[in-house]
């Protein structure tokens, strides 16, 4: 079962998170109206994998950019202005722009995939206050330990605690 707690203060939230970690309670989701370093330090998560999407996307984009320009030029070889048919230097612009375009889109896709959005339905364990002024903690835990969790959260000054199934 899940327990949602709403905190008014930042430091209270941080203390609660650290306490829950001490109690080896793993499945904790923290909500914050705005990213705070304190919370990030408290949760100490692994580095986001989004950067890999960026790298791969950018690389594919650059390759495609060069390829399309060179291939189309060679496919229909027309001399213009006494220049070579396949000219690398100007094609760098195409390569660059496509690297940026596809790289950027891949990055956004990476963010969506990793943070599991778009979510069409509001899932359980969320409260509108979390986008307003309140910090939130959602713990999913076996029923027998639910009391300990709730007690911990209240001890650290949760404004209110809600059970969700």
């Amino acid at each position: 079962m899940g327990i949602v707690a709403a905190f008014r203060e930042l430091d209270a939230t941080v203390d609660a998170i650290e306490d829950l970690k001490r109690q080896k309670i793993s499945d904790v989701t923290v909500y914050t109206p705005t990213p705070r370093h304190e919370i990030e330090e408290a949760v100490s998560p692994p580095t986001s994998p989004v950067r890999r999407f960026t790298l791969i996307g950018g690389f594919c984009g650059a390759c495609f950019g060069y390829w399309i320009a060179v291939w189309t030029s060679d496919y229909w070889p027309l001399v213009v202005g006494g220049k070579a048919i396949a000219t690398w230097i100007p094609f760098t612009i195409i390569g660059f722009e496509l690297m940026v375009l596809i790289g950027a889109l891949a990055t956004v896709a990476g963010m969506f995939i990793n943070s599991r959005i778009p979510k069409i339905t509001m899932t359980v364990g969320f409260d509108p206050r979390f986008t307003h002024g309140h910090y939130g903690i959602w713990v999913q835990e076996a029923p027998e330990r639910a009391r300990i969790v709730e007690e911990t959260l209240r001890r650290h000054g949760a404004e209110d605690v809600r059970h969700e199934d």
Binding site: V50, I93, L105, G133
Partner: protein, 488 residues
């Protein structure tokens, strides 16, 4: 407002805290809820807004009608006077692309530089960027002789496998502009997602709530989302930074790659980029100053922020001015008679008036920003920004028209004057731009709610290092009461 609150001359000359030194950026904002209230509250439409929107739409329709007319009768009804084959449309294209540069500069480059003053103005600038590029994108199509064939510039698969010429700067333009539009629109949208989530949760009207729910993609402010979001934002910024510089460089290639005197020069890319950023900042002032006034957001977009932006404006102005002077020097030093005759004709010949509008508006007037008092005077900044927009439009005029009218072949020297068609379509483009912008500012927050919350001190239960104000640069600063009246 500062000027209103404080009678002239009575200003205390003690050095004012600026964004970097202010220990609290937004003293007027108490807590997160207030941010939601203030900014969310600014979204309710007003009569004045409806009026402005009506005017914008009217202008846009006039321009669209004129374009239809031009397509029917041919480009001959525009003011072209061969060999001046490029005119108001290309001028306006470069002008609008330039405007579109401030947004990404502010949201991406200043983000990487951790420039604090960007937080409250970047949303506005980003929206401006997207709509400006949308406007710019129309002009090449308006300009070409057979607009119904514009898609031939795009490498789309066709059954005869005929492709565009990738050596042509115009094709580079197609790629640069479309990439820039896509990336900056994406940037704007993903930045909006958390704010849309805020509006969603504050909304009372169920329909509006539903729409916002879809637009917010079910964003929940969870720490995991924030983590990936921050990464993505960083990389987008890292991509956008070279993109900004590349786009106007590519636009400048349209001229630098041709062999015409006055165009065929290597300083064009940096020169154009500086000009673009300069004009963009100008447009930002033109937009943000009325908004902070009419939306009552002076305690968000503070005088400190305007001050900092004004310094950036001054800097780019100096770069642009330097570029102008270097151009003349290059022409003289080239010992190339075509080049020299052309520049003489530009400044002292038939085009002197345009050249001097450019020089005064872009080089001379902005020097006033060396005065801190003027930097902190929104009224003056607004007036100056109008001059900057004018000057930058004429910069493009001076680059394009005098070159084409005074080239290698004396037998084909000519004059140029726009016709009512050119002017109408130019005006229509402003209508188109402001139509989109006005629609935007009443539907979505013009100030980034989530990011503002970052620089608002959080609620704390007990005295603790955390009680110190933490500005967006992450530096901890001991709490002191701020100078009274620093914001308003």
């Amino acid at each position: 407002m500062a000027t209103v609150a404080r009678p002239r001359g009575a200003t205390d000359l003690s050095p004012r805290p600026n964004v970097a030194s202010a220990n609290q950026q937004l003293p007027g904002v108490a807590d997160y809820e207030q941010v939601d209230r203030d900014i969310g509250g600014s979204l309710t439409p007003t009569a004045g807004w409806f009026g402005a929107l009506a005017v914008a739409i009217a202008l846009f329709l006039w321009g669209a009608g004129t374009w239809t007319y031009q397509i029917y009768w041919g480009l001959g009804n525009a003011g072209y006077n061969p060999p001046v084959m490029w005119g108001v449309y290309i001028i306006s294209f470069v002008f609008w692309v330039g405007i579109g540069h401030a947004g990404t500069l502010i949201s991406a480059i200043l983000y990487l530089f951790r420039a604090g003053f960007r937080t409250t103005i970047y949303r506005c600038a980003e929206a401006m960027t997207v709509f400006a590029v949308m406007t710019a994108g129309l002009f090449p199509i308006i300009h070409i002789g057979r607009p119904w064939k514009f898609f031939w510039l795009i490498p789309y698969p066709n059954w005869r496998l005929i492709w565009p010429n990738f050596k042509s700067p115009l094709v580079w333009d197609v790629f640069a502009i479309s990439t820039y539009l896509t990336v900056s629109a994406t940037f704007l949208y993903v930045g909006l997602v958390p704010d849309i989530a805020v509006l969603r949760d504050r909304a009372t009207n169920p329909v509006r709530k539903r729409i916002l729910a879809v637009m917010s993609l079910g964003w929940r402010n969870s720490e995991k989302e924030w983590r990936h979001f921050a990464r993505m934002y960083l990389f987008l910024a890292a991509f956008s930074t070279p993109l900004v510089l590349s786009v106007h460089s590519v636009v400048s290639f349209d001229f630098a790659m041709a062999i015409n005197p006055g165009w065929h020069t290597t300083i064009f890319p940096p020169y154009f980029v500086a000009g673009a950023i300069f004009s963009g900042i100008g447009m930002v002032f033109t937009i943000i100053i009325p908004i902070r006034k009419f939306f009552r957001l002076q305690h968000y977009v503070t005088i400190n922020h305007l001050d900092a932006a004004a310094k950036l404006c001054l800097f780019t102005s100096l770069v642009v001015g330097c570029a102008y002077l270097v151009e003349f020097w290059v022409a003289w030093y080239s010992a190339n008679q075509f080049e020299q005759k052309y520049f003489w004709n530009r400044v002292f010949g038939e085009w002197w008036w345009a050249a001097w509008i450019m020089l005064t508006c872009n080089m001379v007037f902005p020097l006033s920003l060396f005065s801190q008092r003027l930097r902190r005077n929104p009224g003056w900044l607004f007036i100056l920004s109008i001059f900057i927009n004018l000057g930058m439009w004429f910069e493009r005029f001076v680059i394009i028209v005098p070159t084409l009218s005074h080239e290698f072949e004396p037998w084909q020297w000519a004059h140029y004057a726009p016709s009512w068609v050119d002017i109408s379509i130019l005006i229509g483009s402003f209508g188109w731009f402001f139509m989109w912008f006005l629609l935007f500012i009443k539907q979505l927050p013009v100030i980034a709610i989530a990011e503002v919350k970052e620089i608002v001190p959080p609620r704390l239960r007990s005295p603790h290092p955390h009680e110190d104000a933490i500005d967006v640069t992450g530096r901890h600063q001991a709490y002191e009461p701020d100078t009274p009246g620093e914001f308003d």
